[in-house]
């Protein structure tokens, strides 16, 4: 059996496999389009609660544990939690802005947490653009220096970038930068509303032309044998699309947890299905009515996408985003339609280009 079949099984049989934990909403950068709901309040999970939670996840055979935020390193017990995750045998990913990953801290992350991957956000190919988005002057230069330091330490790093109106002119530059460092780059073509529904980030959503160029460049690279630049979004990690009765693994193979212990089906789908202050993850996983609904909705989402025929997969439909955009997890939001349209056009162009030499 291959890995894809294993993933299918986790989706089908509701085997929890990937967990994303937002340790804190504190952050040492101030990205304009950050999706965190900073107005959310509650009792933060204590470190001992995290340790119990992680142990339970390990018993449940969860493989992927992503430490996110805010800036996860800003959680005072980040290293302790990371070391515990390592001891419990998780494949640990750290989603960081990279700003504090240098010197002693970077070395300790390597030695104590030994993450499978550190995913660092890149906001542009120039200091002007990167710093404009992070709203912290000097953050670009710091990031480049820190990336080199991390690579020197032998840390495994991936760059993530969300394409925006501000950086869409620098896609090639970001690719060149990633190539120069020998790092993979994942571009997310979707700016999303904040988790509280605030649509302000959408004011810098990429243009139609920008999207088209991104998809074209991606196709070009795929054809040239250059390092792949993947186009995916937050929440897709460890969840490979496979033919199945469900549209995605949200709530079936994956969950996300916020700093206050609220459990969601996915980092993109902020529909609470339980809280770790009140229930164990085992209880939530087996008995949450909210999760049952979500699993049902992911099956219905598949029907919605399938109804779009060949254009369905191009939508990159996300029920969580649909819920944030429109309030209905089954409603195909305009951004998804636009994406499918642009991607369809690019694929059509590519097809012509590929066919050209063959036709006399």
């Amino acid at each position: 059996m291959g890995f894809e079949q294993v993933l299918q099984k986790t989706w089908r049989d509701n085997l929890l496999f990937s967990v994303l934990v937002e340790l804190t909403y504190r952050c040492n950068l101030d990205c304009f389009f950050c999706y965190n709901d900073l107005g959310l309040r509650g009792e933060p999970l204590r470190t001992d609660q995290y340790l119990d939670f992680f142990a339970e996840l390990s018993d449940l055979q969860v493989l992927n544990l992503t430490l996110s935020g805010g800036e996860p390193l800003a959680h005072p017990d980040f290293l302790k939690l990371g070391a515990c995750a390592r001891e419990l045998g998780f494949v640990v990913r750290v989603k960081s802005n990279g700003h504090a990953l240098r010197g002693e801290m970077a070395r300790r992350v390597r030695d104590e947490v030994d993450p499978f991957l550190i995913e660092v956000s890149l906001h542009g190919a120039t200091a002007a653009t990167h710093d404009r988005q992070t709203r912290v002057p000097g953050s670009f230069d710091r990031l480049l220096a820190n990336l080199r330091e991390m690579l020197g330490l032998g840390l495994r790093v991936k760059l993530n970038s969300t394409m925006t109106r501000w950086n869409e002119g620098e896609i090639e530059g970001m690719m060149a930068l990633a190539d120069g460092l020998g790092l993979p780059l994942q571009l997310d073509p979707e700016v999303t509303p904040r988790d509280d529904g605030d649509a302000e980030p959408l004011s810098i959503a990429p243009s139609r032309e920008g999207l088209g160029r991104l998809f074209a460049l991606q196709a070009e690279r795929a054809g040239s044998g250059a390092a792949a630049v993947s186009v995916a979004r937050e929440g897709d990690e460890g969840i490979v699309p496979v033919p199945l009765a469900k549209h995605c693994g949200a709530g079936s193979a994956g969950i996300a947890v916020d700093p206050y212990g609220n459990v969601y089906p996915c980092v993109q789908w902020r529909r609470p299905v339980g809280n770790l202050h009140r229930q164990s993850i085992r209880e939530i996983w087996s008995a949450s009515a909210g999760l049952r609904e979500v699993r049902e909705l992911t099956a219905r989402a598949k029907e919605v996408v399938d109804a779009h025929g060949a254009a369905g997969p191009l939508l990159n439909f996300c029920p969580g985003l649909a819920a944030t955009h429109t309030g209905d997890p089954l409603s195909v939001y305009p951004d998804a339609l636009r994406r499918a349209e642009v991607l369809g056009e690019v694929l059509e162009q590519e097809k012509k280009r590929v066919l050209l030499p063959v036709v006399p």
Partner: protein, 316 residues
């Protein structure tokens, strides 16, 4: 040295935005010049500590409209440096930018952000107690300084005393005799507003002084008082004789500039500060500024009464 490194273990992780986990769900609103100031995200023990220090200035519930809002967030003990305070002079670490000010101090990290209105954020490992009151006040002083600045006023480091419904503001570098002067005035029946920090504002009737309940050696910080017309600015100088020497307007402006803590080292708000100083001292003699040369054993008060408190008509 890197900003914050003297106080924080990880200055690289200094918060860049108003986010994090608050201490609790309680809030207090404090009525100080420039306010009201509302502090939310507090734990019950923190509210107690704030009440103990600012009780008389705390407003009732539900009247916090248009308040300057601050949030109080958690920070871990392990994030703050232990400081040996023996023989050490405490000074906050400040870092100003056009739209924000960062501050670091003992057991605290703070931000003031203009988005576009002023909002404060305080991170501390203290969940309550006497030391929380101190941390809170250190943050609150900076917040007040910037709030007064944006409202055309000034937080002034100086001793203010009042007599006959008018006030004198005595300024000078550390050791110039502010507390000595305040004691002297107190002995002569004047009231000490605060011998450390006071607010200065311009009203239709002239420049006024308002006391701030921040900890000083003298002054009854427990009872609020309204604004009092400023009869004179005094530059304190210890001397073998008691005498008053008139100062020009420029000297008065320079004196205030030197005594406006936090904001006078902010390169991004220099124009605003100079504009406020010009408005607070719009003309020579409004209000008058003097150099007060005074003896420790002598008595300068009669001179002040004669020259400052009686000679100019009270602004009303």
């Amino acid at each position: 040295m890197t900003f914050g490194a003297a106080f924080l273990v990880h200055p690289d992780l200094f918060p860049a935005r108003r986010g994090g986990e608050t201490w609790g769900a309680q809030a207090v609103t404090i009525n100080l010049p420039g306010g009201p100031y509302r502090f939310a995200g507090l734990a019950p023990a923190q509210v107690e500590a704030v009440r103990a220090r600012f009780g008389a200035y705390i407003k009732g519930m539900g009247d916090a409209g248009a308040a300057v809002e601050s949030l109080v967030f958690r920070m871990a003990e392990e994030e703050v440096r232990e400081i040996d305070t023996r023989g050490w002079e405490y000074g906050l670490d400040l870092d100003a930018a056009p739209g924000a000010v960062r501050l670091a101090g003992m057991r605290l990290a703070g931000r003031l952000d203009w988005r576009p209105g002023l909002a404060g954020s305080l991170w501390t490992p203290d969940g309550g107690s006497e030391s929380f009151a101190g941390i809170f006040e250190n943050f609150f002083r900076v917040l007040t300084a910037y709030r007064l600045l944006e409202q055309g006023g000034l937080l002034v480091h100086g001793a203010a005393v009042a007599a006959g419904g008018r006030s004198l503001l005595a300024l000078g570098r550390s050791g110039a005799g502010k507390t000595t002067f305040a004691r002297l005035a107190l002995a002569r029946g004047a009231e000490v507003l605060s011998d450390d920090l006071n607010a200065l504002r311009r009203t239709g009737g002239g420049t006024v002084v308002e006391k701030l309940p921040f900890t000083g050696d003298l002054g009854d910080s427990a009872s609020p008082a309204g604004p009092l017309p400023l009869a004179a600015l005094l530059r304190l100088e210890k001397s073998p004789h008691d005498e008053l020497v008139p100062l020009g307007r420029a000297e008065g402006v320079g004196l205030l500039l030197a005594c406006s803590p936090y904001v006078n080292v902010d390169p991004h708000r220099r124009e605003a500060l100079l504009a406020n100083l010009a408005a607070l001292l719009p003309a020579a003699g409004d209000p008058p500024a003097w150099a007060l040369r005074f003896t420790l054993g002598g008595d300068c008060w009669p001179i002040l009464e004669r020259q400052c408190l009686r000679s100019t008509p009270a602004a009303s």
